[in-house]
């Protein structure tokens, strides 16, 4: 399978995303001005500071030509993973519910976080066990997940809250300790921590992040855990 990894002016994690994807399949960079998604089977919207994060994080990147194609790709059922700034872009594009706001302590924070898998078997977590813990780095200043109470209740019922910060790990003030959510159809997923930085125990603290990429490969290739 082939991953397409978007690159905006101001992206900074696209190379790690590319390398992580290459551990489970092929991968190619897609420049933001390009409408053609290069025949990719799945898309990764990477972390960074797209278009300088001017106005609001992800607000301007959402209108790039590549993102217009990604929105069509997602509406046709294609798998889309948004990491950190990519998660913000997917929320701004309304492919995911809710919004990311400045961390409650107003500080940029970089730390390893423990996450709980609340929904396994979906397209992005089928290589994980239910209630499994993942240890993945997070680094952001705008990671406080917010959605209105009705949306949160609906998401909870329909299994859209995929990852939660483990007790004591929610450093950004996200509602319901939410670290990662998917859309109703389950083909679009965003998370603030960085699975692409945790694909090698030597440098990532763990290789747990690889499970997200491996899950996507299994989904595209029709493999069930």
């Amino acid at each position: 399978m082939k991953f397409g990894v978007l690159q905006f002016p101001g992206s900074c994690d696209e190379v790690d995303a590319l390398e992580a994807a290459r551990r489970v399949g092929d991968a190619e960079l897609i420049w933001h001005g390009q409408r053609d998604l290069a025949g990719a089977d799945a898309i990764v919207v990477p972390g960074g500071f797209s278009y300088g994060d001017y106005l609001r994080a992800g607000a301007i990147a959402r209108f790039s030509p590549a993102m217009e194609s990604v929105i069509d790709f997602a509406r046709d059922g294609g798998l889309v993973l948004g990491i950190c700034n990519g998660f913000q872009v997917l929320c701004e594009a309304r492919l995911l519910p809710g919004a990311l706001l400045p961390n409650a302590n107003l500080r940029f924070t970089f730390r390893q976080v423990e996450l709980e898998v609340l929904s396994s078997g979906g397209s992005f977590t089928r290589a994980c066990a239910l209630d499994e813990r993942l240890s993945i780095p997070a680094k952001h200043a705008w990671g406080r997940y917010h959605a209105d109470p009705q949306t949160l209740a609906t998401m909870d019922r329909s299994g859209q809250i995929v990852l939660r910060y483990a007790p004591g790990q929610n450093f950004n003030g996200s509602l319901h300790d939410i670290a990662g959510v998917c859309n109703e159809a389950g083909n679009v997923f965003g998370l603030m921590p960085h699975p692409e930085h945790a694909v090698d125990e030597l440098v990532g603290g763990s290789a747990d992040g690889l499970k997200i990429f491996e899950s996507m490969r299994m989904s595209v290739e029709g493999v069930h855990a």
């Binding site: 106005l55 609001r56 607000a59 301007i60 209108f63 701004e92 809710g98 919004a99 706001l101 400045p102 961390n103 409650a104 302590n105 107003l106 406080r144 917010h146 959605a147 209105d148 003030g173």
Partner: protein, 73 residues
């Protein structure tokens, strides 16, 4: 035409910037300050003020978490 768009965090959403300023003011001797909220001001020239609302909905504000107010001069 000159327009101003005021963008504020929606009521009930934690506003840590407002809270930080609210804590700082009494420390400087300014008593009786409460309910501080911090938003954004966008000033712009527009030929067609009818476009301001769709601009706000689409780009200038995120209506999920922000309220906006359009003021024409």
């Amino acid at each position: 035409m000159r327009a101003r768009v005021l963008i504020r965090p929606k009521a009930g959403i934690l506003d840590p910037q407002g809270a930080a300023v609210e804590r700082a003011l009494p420390a400087l001797g300014f008593a009786g300050v409460g309910n501080v909220h911090i938003g954004r001001l966008i000033e712009l020239d527009v030929e067609d003020p009818a476009q301001l609302q769709p601009m706000c909905e689409k780009l200038l504000a995120n209506p999920l978490v922000e309220d906006y107010e359009i003021i024409l001069e």
